[in-house]
């Protein structure tokens, strides 16, 4: 299996503070990969630098044979990566339909088919096409944020904390959707604090701590790992 994304020796700083320290990881094509870790571990910074919202200090980001480091966001998005930003960030004063269309902003071809695809995945969004996005519930906004990202027809979709601030039952729904999207051939890079759910959904997991990747393994391996259990799953180490 080939890797769709390869990150090598990535460093990201904000005004002298190093958020990401020399990390390397790969995302194999067609899989769900998760990056877990506590607040401030550098997970979001990693995603933001991959999509070009933050310029990496050094390092390589290879996406399908092409180098992304240093490119502006619009060019990165048009190559087939989208970020579902943390905290959903839908456009509150625009309708649901307009939000979806903005997702396809970089594309010039016909949208009908993809609009239908997204509406099939999220029937709610079709019902609410003319409603302002700001009036949706938290769960619906998360659906919209994911649907909006899908409208750019990405090969790799990166999600930053999709379960943030949602009720457990809604979180379950979000992860069902993530699996469904993955089944349809989209590679997923998931950043989560909800380690339990994320590792269950993932083929491959990385654990980040204070800017470094400290552990790697399949989702199941990490779920069983004693240190991960102690640090992220809230289960005490067995003596």
């Amino acid at each position: 299996m080939s890797n769709i994304l390869e990150v090598k020796n990535l460093n990201v700083s904000y005004g002298g503070i190093k958020a990401v320290k020399d990390i390397s990881f790969v995302v194999p094509k067609g899989e769900v990969v998760t990056l877990i870790g506590a607040n401030g571990a550098g997970k979001s910074s990693t995603l933001r630098s991959i999509v070009g919202l933050v310029k990496p200090e050094s390092g390589n980001i290879q996406f399908k044979e092409g180098e992304l480091a240093g490119l502006p966001t619009d060019q990165i998005v048009s190559r087939g990566i989208t970020l579902v930003p943390e905290g959903r960030r839908v456009f509150p004063d625009m309708t649901v339909l307009e939000n979806l269309k903005i997702g396809a902003y970089m594309r010039k071809d016909d949208l009908e088919e993809d609009l239908k695809w997204v509406h099939d995945l999220f029937p709610r969004l079709k019902e609410r096409s003319w409603q302002l996005a700001g009036t949706l519930s938290g769960g619906e906004q998360q659906m919209l944020a994911i649907g909006r990202a899908l409208m750019s027809k990405p090969e790799l979709i990166m999600m930053d904390e999709p379960s943030l601030g949602l009720a457990p039952i809604i979180v379950q729904g979000v992860f069902d959707i993530i699996r469904e999207i993955n089944k349809q051939g989209v590679t997923i890079l998931l950043v989560e604090q909800n380690a339990n759910m994320a590792l269950k959904a993932a083929n491959l997991g990385y654990v980040m701590e204070t800017g470094r990747i400290t552990m790697t393994g399949t989702g199941m391996e990490l779920l069983e790992n004693e240190e991960v259990k102690a640090a992220y799953l809230g289960k005490a180490k067995e003596k």
Binding site: V77, T82, R89, M94, Y105
Partner: protein, 362 residues
């Protein structure tokens, strides 16, 4: 309602409006205040909509409108003063250095283009700023432009601080209506295009918009340049309406008037800006004029406080009341449409019927 009948309705309405204006002009005396209001209102409607494109749809709070209008007005005037009257207009500067005159439409567009070029250059540094800082920077630009145009050294082009006059103006009220109408239609088409959607996305959430692949700097500059272009055109129209111009006319107070129109109409509503523009001009030029009359008596009672300039106090109170109690303005972010209009009346009418029915029941 299908798009076709909607378009037919709109075309019909516009034709009816122009027809009505034409008839009014034939029937009413040409000195009537009504025409002043209509002419100036149409011009202010255009500049208000152009400001709304920036403030309401792109979320860039800019206060440079008067500066761009000045650029448009001066460009128009300088390019259209007939060569034979240049000597008398530029009497202190040996007839000036521009010795040709362009046709009116070309000069109007040139006014827009000059404003747009300045907007592009100023936008390069200024659009990095956000909210209040952007407002202050653009306001400063407008003041600088005004001062520069009054500078004696530029006299051979701008006539220094002296009046520019003798350029062609319009007689018919239809002229500003048609020009503003075309420009506003262009702005509305822009707002409804994918570019317009990107502008709104930037207004709603810059970070998310950037993550969707929208190039922030490019789109902000585009909105700024286009808005300034139309402000320039409206400046040209204002010059035509006033028949004489002078840089000192384009004070920041002018920008505030336009801002007031945009806020009263509803930030983010094109039709709101148009409606409130006519309302504002009608009030300030006509309906509230009596407030400036120091010797106003109502049945022997001398109304106190009234003196020249008092109506401006009333405006200040109105804007405070608006901001406190009616922040949405007349239209909010909604647009006036025939559908909504007929729906409104259907609702009222339907309600009445129900009430009548209820009454007969008893």
């Amino acid at each position: 309602m299908s798009t076709k009948t909607k378009a037919a309705w709109n075309v019909g309405l516009i034709a009816a409006l122009l027809g009505l204006l034409f008839i009014l002009e034939q029937v009413m005396p040409s000195g009537s205040m009504l025409f002043t209001v209509l002419k100036k209102g149409a011009i202010y409607a255009l500049v208000a909509v152009s400001m709304n494109l920036l403030n309401g749809f792109t979320g860039l709070f800019s206060l440079g409108q008067a500066g761009f209008m000045l650029l448009g007005a001066y460009t128009y005037a300088i390019l259209t003063i007939p060569t034979e009257s240049r000597a008398s207009v530029y009497q202190y500067f040996d007839g000036g250095i521009v010795q040709f005159a362009l046709p009116v439409p070309v000069a109007l567009i040139a006014g827009g283009i000059v404003a747009a070029i300045f907007a592009y250059l100023i936008g390069l540094p200024v659009l990095r700023l956000k909210s209040d800082y952007l407002a202050i920077a653009t306001l400063g630009f407008a003041e600088i432009i005004r001062a520069v145009f009054q500078w004696d050294k530029l006299g051979p082009i701008t006539n220094g601080s002296n009046l520019l006059r003798n350029f062609p103006s319009f007689k018919s009220v239809l002229y500003p209506f048609i020009v503003s109408g075309i420009c506003i239609a262009l702005i509305v088409m822009l707002i409804n295009s994918t570019y317009g959607r990107a502008f709104k996305a930037i207004r709603d959430d810059e970070i998310a918009a950037e993550a969707m692949g929208i190039n922030l700097a490019h789109h902000k500059r585009l909105a700024f340049v286009i808005s300034s272009f139309f402000a320039g055109v409206s400046g040209g129209l204002l010059a035509m309406y006033q028949t004489t111009i002078q840089a000192s006319m384009f004070k920041s107070a002018m920008t505030y008037e336009i801002l007031l129109i945009v806020v009263i109409g509803g930030i983010g509503s094109v039709t709101g800006s148009c409606i409130s523009s006519f309302l504002f001009i009608a009030c300030s030029e006509w309906w509230l004029r009596f407030l400036d009359n120091e010797n106003l008596y109502i049945g022997g009672f001398h109304v106190p406080f009234l003196r020249p300039g008092f109506r401006k106090v009333v405006f200040a109170v109105v804007i405070m009341a608006m901001v406190l109690f009616y922040r949405q303005g007349i239209m909010g972010t909604k647009e006036f449409s025939i559908e909504a209009f007929s729906g409104f009346f259907k609702k009222k009418f339907g309600k009445k019927k129900v009430e009548e029915g209820g009454g007969s029941h008893e």
